[in-house]
């Protein structure tokens, strides 16, 4: 569909809600990919996309710069991912307390907090990596990164945003964003390097 985001945003604000269909279809794929790479969960990514688009539609009058609809939408999705993560961690903490009261082994509890990642992690990377596609390997590896490094990396490497844009989206100083990207890449290199194909895949 022709026309910049600004044009379609303008049409929606002028009272044509159907114009939002163009924006939604234009951005749903990058939005889904952002959410999928950030959360590592396909279903979670779908939910986040739907909610983010719905919220963006409702809050469109608050968008200051219609040319930056995409980064605004991505930021909405990012905040939703963060909220969901916090809720999930809180649920894990609550169930951990309940289990502790019922006398369950604390070791099991410690693993519970990391279960999202453990579930996706190959039990033996050396044995399974041959059948694991790069995407699956990276999905697993990205989840090992701290959140602030992961989101900066995903926004730069997959969404194509510059450090300046990322800084504005996350409300973080640009040097900090660059630092997070640098150390995120270094950490990712170490994580991937531990796998059997790590040296081959990421050696300079």
């Amino acid at each position: 569909m022709e026309g910049s985001d600004r044009v379609w945003v303008g049409r929606v604000l002028a009272g044509d809600p159907g114009a939002f269909d163009v924006l939604a279809h234009r951005w749903q794929k990058p939005l889904y990919n952002f959410a999928y790479r950030y959360t590592g969960q396909a279903e979670e990514a779908e939910d986040v996309c739907q909610e983010a688009l719905t919220r963006a539609f409702a809050q469109l009058p608050q968008l200051k710069d219609p040319d930056r609809f995409g980064s605004w939408l991505t930021t909405i999705a990012f905040r939703m991912c963060q909220d969901r993560g916090r809720r999930r961690r809180r649920q894990v903490e609550i169930s951990t307390e309940e289990l502790a009261e019922s006398g369950v082994d604390p070791t099991t509890l410690a693993l519970a907090g990391d279960c999202d990642r453990l579930v996706q992690m190959p039990a033996d990377p050396a044995a399974q990596v041959e059948t694991t596609e790069i995407g699956e390997l990276l999905r697993w590896a990205l989840q090992k990164l701290p959140e602030e490094q992961r989101v900066a990396l995903v926004l730069r490497e997959y969404q194509g945003y510059t450090a300046t844009e990322i800084g504005e989206m996350l409300s973080v100083p640009v040097p900090t964003v660059r630092s997070r990207i640098f150390y995120g890449l270094k950490s990712l290199r170490r994580i991937l390097g531990r796998g059997p194909m790590g040296q081959e895949l990421v050696s300079p």
Partner: protein, 296 residues
């Protein structure tokens, strides 16, 4: 920048260099540093290669369409939009409800929810929940007080009924008689006298004891009755206070549910009509919007 920098200070610049976001002067500085720093050279190569590898993960297609067929149609997105600040138009609620009525309806809904047992958490809901708990506590206290009062009355009645009666038994004596056998009679008389003295003494002692016991019992009984009276008074006071608290609580509940109270933020009609009439030409009419009247 002329001050000495550690290698860690250069790391963000390596990203900026890869992204082409450095000015020419800064780029020259970074390049100069790279020419003399093996660690930063290695880091630059490493992150460049890692970045290239990371980008090999292609974009995925969403498993199914993630958006409705059209945002122009009905759906939750429409409701969400209606709830937000919408598209340069006033919200329907603002247009069709006077300012206070919305809040009153909300309060009425909260009260209704409260009565249905589905009190929302937070705000008014929390206050009502606290009041409900207070009322329940008062009711329980009241029931306990009534029960204690009934028990105290029963105990007082039993105490009065069981009070020991004063001993009225006459002292027993030995009647002195004429003894035919003088010696035997004297001896017997003496013994009788002694026995009588002893008996009289015992009788007096008994009487005294009984009297003392009775006095004590009376005294104790009086004390007990007084104590019970005090307890009963206290219980009555407590009941009165509890009743008062219950009444007050109900008043607060009713007060909370009254629309007029919720709307008291609005200035009364009198203040509006007391406004001095604007002077000058064309100033006789106060604009409708400035009157703070509900907009229907």
């Amino acid at each position: 920048m002329n001050q000495p920098r550690s290698c860690a200070d250069w790391k963000p610049d390596l990203i900026a260099l890869l992204d082409g976001e450095l000015g020419s002067a800064r780029k020259a500085e970074v390049t100069a540093h790279l020419s003399i720093c093996g660690e930063c050279q290695a880091d630059l190569s490493e992150i460049e290669a890692t970045s290239a590898f990371v980008r090999r993960w292609d974009l995925a297609e969403p498993p199914r369409p993630l958006v409705p067929q059209s945002f122009a149609g009905p759906g939750p997105w429409r409701a969400a939009a209606a709830g937000g600040r919408g598209f340069g138009e006033r919200r329907l609620r603002d247009l069709f409800l006077p300012a206070g009525l919305g809040a009153a309806l909300a309060a009425a809904a909260v009260v209704l929810l409260f009565r249905l047992g589905a009190v929302p958490a937070g705000g008014v809901g929390r206050e009502i929940q606290a009041l409900a708990t207070e009322v329940a506590g008062l009711r329980a206290e009241l029931a306990a007080a009534e029960s204690a009062l009934a028990q105290a009355r029963t105990a007082a009645g039993a105490e009065v009924a069981a009070r020991p009666a004063a001993a009225t038994e006459a002292p027993s004596g030995v009647a002195p008689g004429v003894v035919a056998d003088r010696t035997a009679a004297d001896r017997a008389a003496l013994l009788n006298e002694v026995a009588a003295i002893i008996a009289a003494s015992e009788s007096r002692q008994d009487a005294k004891f009984l009297f003392t016991t009775d006095q004590l019992a009376r005294s104790l009984s009086m004390q007990r009755r007084e104590d019970l009276a005090v307890i009963e008074r206290q219980l009555r006071d407590a009941r009165a206070e509890t009743f008062q608290a219950l009444l007050s609580t109900h008043e607060r509940l009713d007060h909370l549910a009254q629309p007029a109270v919720l709307d008291r933020g609005l200035p009364p009609e009198r203040e509006l009509s007391d406004e001095p009439a604007p002077k000058g030409k064309g100033g006789g009419q106060v604009p409708h919007e400035d009157r703070l009247e509900p907009r229907w």
